[in-house]
Symmetry: C2
Subunit: 477 residues, 2 copies
């Protein structure tokens, strides 16, 4: 029996398929088959056999595994696997794929097959990937949905981005507070379909207003004749569809929720938020931030084609070239000074570099504090004072160390003094900016995790050069 | 009724307490009361009244909210609130606090109160915070636990860091596969305590080996006379205690799990992994990575004291000073060249900067690919080829743009050529390192998200300076 128990070792399950795909010739032949249909009979037989083998292996996968497999492959092999996936599996894989890969797959699928695949999905699943789909097949599939499913899909697409409404699901188990436990159990038993990740019944009063919840497990344990109004927990964490999904995520973490009701302004249940949607959302967001920090969009595909990869990086390269160029204009102000004392050119990058690092430390702490809602107006001033003081202390300590080093290396105590002053001032400035930049981005309604680093690097580089060379031209020349 | 329904608006609930704490005089008086017990009677009465008000407001919170409140406060107010928290609430808050704050609170708590607080926790909760606790109170509280709880606590502390064993919980609902549905329901009803986040029964055979699961909701719907072996789902995602918690997290996301059994090598259930523990783990890890990337440890406290804050940043500052200093040694090799053509000093930071940025883009993609297990040996070479090609293309395109700019600005076509060549070479190098550094860190069993950026910046700075100045001295001088 234990053979059928599925462990977490995804790699082991995918290994035979990956082995098959590693036979370069086979893959080449399979992908070329449509292009060169005149292969010899024997060749064709061999290829057909390999295709069948691949098909059989793929059929055994589930949707998430198939998605993972696709993510691991380069474009040609991806298309081959996608082509061989049964429609239902392809549908389940599609909703799990990263945006970049999902888009490529949709693009490569003939309209007819795409419609078949989409018909395997329900309104909720369609809502998840609707923005990746071309208009036509989406409309066709929408027309095939039942009226209430179609309404759900449309209203779900209308909620703002990153809102609870956008990620909530449709089906909840709802019971009336005047039901007995026995009636509620019968109600659960008679429900046509079981909403996944259902851990509790949402309890409403006769006005259909949410008044409490009863965990399923509690339902099984209570005296069957009691009313739900007696056994329910009236302390419910609930959400509005307009709430931010990020905030909802914090609430899920704080209160260890598995599901929670989403209500309209009159407290009527209009949907359900599941921990699965929250985890997906948080993962996507973390991903997005990590890449955005390096100037890449969330759907950048590590295994995608080269040209696309090159062009994806242009906006950021362009911004970076521009800011780096402006920063060097501060150096050009002092070319005369450098000509007289070339060692300044050697030492100036150190001042810029330690400033940048200190700024990033402060901004990393600020970004986390803002994301977790730990920063209030009252404490912001404490943070300013604290970070500036830290910049000052560390500037003096490490600036002095650097200054002594420069003194020893170039036999000039004044050079050491300039070094120390420039490092100290740049660290204080970096600390001030490290607090201000994320706060300003946050106030402006933008994500401080995205964009802080460009502004900071630009400022600490420019000021590092300017302070060091400026002080040098005042003191040394 | 709707008044008792708790929305996600934590801020609104904390607002009255924060208002109270904002009266600086009150806080000052309260915190000074032990230091200066001779305040006048009226002062004392006033302070006492405020303390009572605070105490009453705090009593209404739950553990996670109290923890959030503590995280938002500066040290003096934190201690005041901590002091006023009822023991049971303090206990629940303690397990939710970030490590830095939890440590401070433990340190500030007299031994006697700490023991009382810890007695409010069960073995699982104690295991979560055991590494923050001083030996003595932990041992005392351990001695008060029941034998099986104590054994659990000890074995749990023995599992490796970031393993499934470390974060799994103790209680599972287990049923035998020869039970009928009716018997299983009776079994659930008779369980003394209900393990939280229980969505399914784990089904074992007569050898106590895990053979399947039955979701609770399915249990409520099946024919009561059928055997669990007939109705169970034999496809179980299970874990070993030695599995990495990170991998388990991927599996939870992939298969939308709420809980999963943890089994020993003979497939006997020894614990249960809950989605809550997974979410906590993933959040902590993301946090840790974001800060480690800026050279800070995960328990750095934005609102902590200044001196601690300054010293926390020394190791990183020191590393950064060292690498920046080494990078400038490459400049010092060419001081003669710079003396002859000072504009080289102005332009050289651009070459270093674009190299650094390109390297970070590549490494950000690699780090994500490695974390999601999308990189296999087979595709690694594709990635090398792809990223190098991207570096080459972008180096030529943007290097040429920069070169033209330098030519125009300084009227020297050869300077433009040097610029273009240096940028191109540095981008190719950055791409190679952007792939290699994360891969090597990963192979060495380290987290590529932590540490890649130092090595990369060091290399692209050094090489940027070296390539640009080296080419300039060959071509221009």
């Amino acid at each position: 029996m234990t053979d059928s128990v599925t462990g977490p070792k995804l790699e082991q399950r995918l290994a035979p398929i990956l082995d098959l795909l590693q036979k370069q010739q086979v893959v080449h032949a399979m992908t070329q088959r449509q292009a060169q249909p005149r292969a010899s009979l024997i060749e064709n037989l061999l290829i057909r056999q390999q295709e069948n083998e691949l098909h059989r292996a793929l059929e055994k996968l589930n949707g998430p595994d198939a998605a993972h497999l696709l993510q691991m492959l380069t474009t040609d092999k991806r298309l081959l696997v996608w082509h061989e996936l049964p429609d239902s599996l392809a549908a389940q894989a599609l909703i799990e794929l990263s945006e970049a890969v999902a888009e490529d797959m949709v693009e490569a699928t003939p309209g007819e097959r795409l419609e078949k695949i989409l018909q395997e999905l329900d309104a909720e699943e369609l809502a998840e990937i609707a923005d990746l789909l071309p208009r036509e097949p989406l409309e066709k599939v929408k027309a095939l949905l039942e009226a209430n499913e179609r309404t759900w899909l449309e209203s779900s697409l209308a909620y703002p981005e990153d809102s609870v409404g956008e990620i909530m699901s449709k089906d909840s188990l709802i019971a009336s507070d005047d039901m007995t436990v026995n009636q509620a159990i019968a109600h659960v038993r008679s429900a046509v379909e079981l909403p996944p990740q259902t851990d509790k019944l949402f309890i409403v009063n006769r006005h259909k207003h949410l008044v409490g919840v009863v965990p399923l497990i509690a339902l099984m344990r209570h005296d069957v004749d009691r009313h739900l109004s007696e056994v329910m927990d009236p302390n419910v964490v609930f959400f509005s569809p307009e709430d931010s999904a990020e905030e909802a995520g914090h609430a899920f973490e704080r209160y260890d929720l598995i599901s929670a009701p989403v209500v309209d302004e009159r407290h009527r249940v209009i949907g359900r938020l599941r921990v699965e949607a929250i985890m997906d959302f948080l993962r996507d967001r973390a991903d997005e931030q990590a890449l955005a920090n390096a100037g890449l969009s969330a759907d950048t595909d590590l295994l995608g084609p080269i040209w696309e990869g090159a062009r994806e990086r242009w906006p950021w390269l362009c911004v970076n070239l521009f800011t780096a160029f402006i920063a060097t204009r501060f150096i050009s102000l002092f070319e005369g000074t450098i000509e007289q004392l070339v060692v300044l050119a050697t030492l100036m990058p150190i001042v810029a570099s330690v400033g940048g690092n200190t700024g990033h430390q402060t901004s990393a702490l600020m970004i986390r504090g803002l994301a977790l809602n730990h920063v209030q107006r009252d404490t912001l001033w404490y943070i300013y004072r604290k970070e500036t003081a830290i910049g000052l202390i560390n500037g003096l300590v490490w600036g002095a160390a650097l200054g002594l080093f420069a003194w020893g290396l170039y036999q000039s105590p004044l050079l050491g003094l300039v070094m120390m002053m420039a490092v100290t001032l740049n660290l204080v400035l970096a600390a001030l900016l490290g607090v201000s930049v994320p706060v300003l981005l946050d106030r402006a309604g933008r994500d401080p995790a995205m964009g802080s680093s460009v502004v900071l690097t630009f400022a600490t580089d420019s000021m590092g050069f300017f302070l060091f060379l400026g002080l040098a031209s005042l003191i040394l020349i």
